[in-house]
Amino acid sequence: MGAVLYVPCDAAALAVGADRVAETLADELRTRGVDATIIRNGSRGMHWLEPLVEIETEQGRIAYGPVKPSDVAGLLDGGDHPLCHGLTEEIPYLKRQTRLTFSRCGITDPLSLEHYEMHHGFLGLKRALEMTPAEIVQDVTDSGLRGRGGAGFPTGIKWNTVLKAQGAQKYIVCNADEGDSGTFSDRMIMEGDPFVLIEGMAIAGIAVGATKGYIYTRSEYPHAVAIMQDAIKIARKAGILGASVMGSDHAFDMEVREGAGAYVCGEETSLLNSLEGKRGIVRAKPPLPAIEGLFGCPTVVNNVMSLASVPIIMDRGARFYRDYGVGYSHGTIPIQLTGNIKNSGLFETAFGLTLNELIYDIGGGTLSGRPVKAVQVGGPLGAYFPPSLFDTIFDYEAFIERNGMIGHAGIVVFDDTVDMLKQARFAMEFCAIESCGKCTPCRIGSVRGVEVLDRIAEGDQPEQQVELLTDLCDTMKMGSLCALGGFAPYPVMSSLTHFPQDFHVKPLTDAAE
């Protein structure tokens, strides 16, 4: 058998030249007359090393990265190479992880059913098919899995509501609208292990009695859309999806739908309106989507990570999953280390690591080499934390206690060149741009917020403006229908609270002049 090499097809790898590396590699192998196969795998999640080329050896896969086309020839010559990181599995960043949801990502060919099954694929679904819907729901509840889309609501409890709801038609809607800056775990799983999402959605369908699923994702994710669509076709052909799921009497099929550039469509009711072909305006709750969701039917809306974690829970058991983590945060969480950080990428681990461990021990500090000034956790609506709070552990409740949220588990690192007043202004500006317009505190409040922050920047009565800003943030928190308007105050107020100097610098120097 010939040599086997791997070059990822993940969008992050493509964005830094993986296709050109793969082409050069193929040419070079042909020129040398080497019989070889290049597998386009998902990403291992060590994005600072992308494009990461792996060569299979008797000892295991050897990693090289970041590889440029000009490095390819040297890489094939063998011997020591400056880009060589040794056995991939032994790289500390990977070795320290607990990969449950991402157990296959980066290892397999995303569209190979054979690879998928060789690596424990469909074992969860097979087990689910032997259980009653209530038993499946009970297992998911017992696993302690909480929604990974941001709110952390227990997935099993949501499923139970849909299971009990009456309706001739029920739906599984996968929220793949991943709009938070600093996040890409949904994208990585869709591009790197699409069958696990299909499996998770099929299990959800069987559990609640839904026969139709939708994956609603972003138009900014063209590669994820293409791979998901191909994977669905393959699964349908193999009898995983369709009138009889794996030969059972359960029917389940699904479709991918693309959003059109609106962040708010990640909010579940806005998403449902968008799926129905309407404006993505947020709906008032109740009714809950679980009771009256898509086209008025009982609907499970779950994040990609929530659904993609279900197969391993069904395969290994609720207890196995539940035993990872701390407090009420059970299982693992794929943390995304992004922005100005050396070892950027995806790090799946049990809940409970501190920000210090994540940013310094694992992340290696800033890429610029300058001191860390702040991190934003949980997307554009998440709070900014200063280094004095880096002892906070990654746990839903620990973050809430400190006026933050883990959200979709993205961490964006900023060095000491960042101006926190600017970041606060951006949070308000973003809210103004993305507001669905339904409620005044969000629609108007965010615009006023930008104006007030501009006045602070100009040094125009900063004390009074800060008071105004605080009031405004309170109004938005209390009076907004959804978390866009309700949480935009968090990045603003955390900036103000933890970095007051950035809000007064200009007026103070002005006064001194």
Partner: protein, 158 residues
């Protein structure tokens, strides 16, 4: 005459797109995406055709369409460059990069270069936050960008 033919063509193409999606639940967004994919924007004739076939008013279709930043009512330049403005890219100098590009191209957000080559759009996260700053030229993604790299992207397209 030419105009009329064009308008008939648009209607015909739009009808064909509607045929593909009509049976789907909530077909409006998939139709709008395909229409924009075909023409580069959503022409008024297409809008009217969609309204007619889906049994909606023109205002309803227009109202939905205008909610979403992706849909255009006018053609864009030959290429669309979307530069990420969100936080992870900001942390890696994305804001300065965006300013530099606007200056270099001589246009602001949502504008098109005078030669009709490139339309510049802001985007809020491309999921490439681990290789920031990032941008998208037409359907292609690019990370770890600097000013030179972006200008090269613009040069490389026709």
């Amino acid at each position: 005459m030419a105009l009329q033919t064009q308008s008939q063509d648009i209607e015909k193409e739009t009808a064909a797109i509607i045929d593909v999606h009509e049976h789907q639940e909530g077909p409006l967004l998939p139709i709008l995406h395909d229409v924009q994919g075909k023409f580069g924007y959503v022409p008024e004739d297409a809008l009217l055709k969609i309204a007619d076939r889906l049994n909606l008013s023109r205002a309803e279709v227009h109202g939905t369409m205008s909610f979403y930043p992706d849909f255009r009512t006018e053609p864009a330049g030959r290429h669309v460059l979307k530069v990420c403005r969100a936080e992870a890219c900001q942390s890696m100098g994305g804001e300065k990069l965006a300013d530099d590009i606007q200056r270099d191209l001589g246009i602001k957000w949502h504008e098109t270069t005078p030669d009709g080559k490139v339309t510049l759009e802001p985007v809020y996260c491309l999921g490439l936050c681990s290789c920031a700053p990032a941008a998208m030229m037409d359907g292609n993604l690019h990370g770890r960008l600097d000013e030179d790299a972006v200008l090269k992207l613009v040069e490389e397209v026709k």
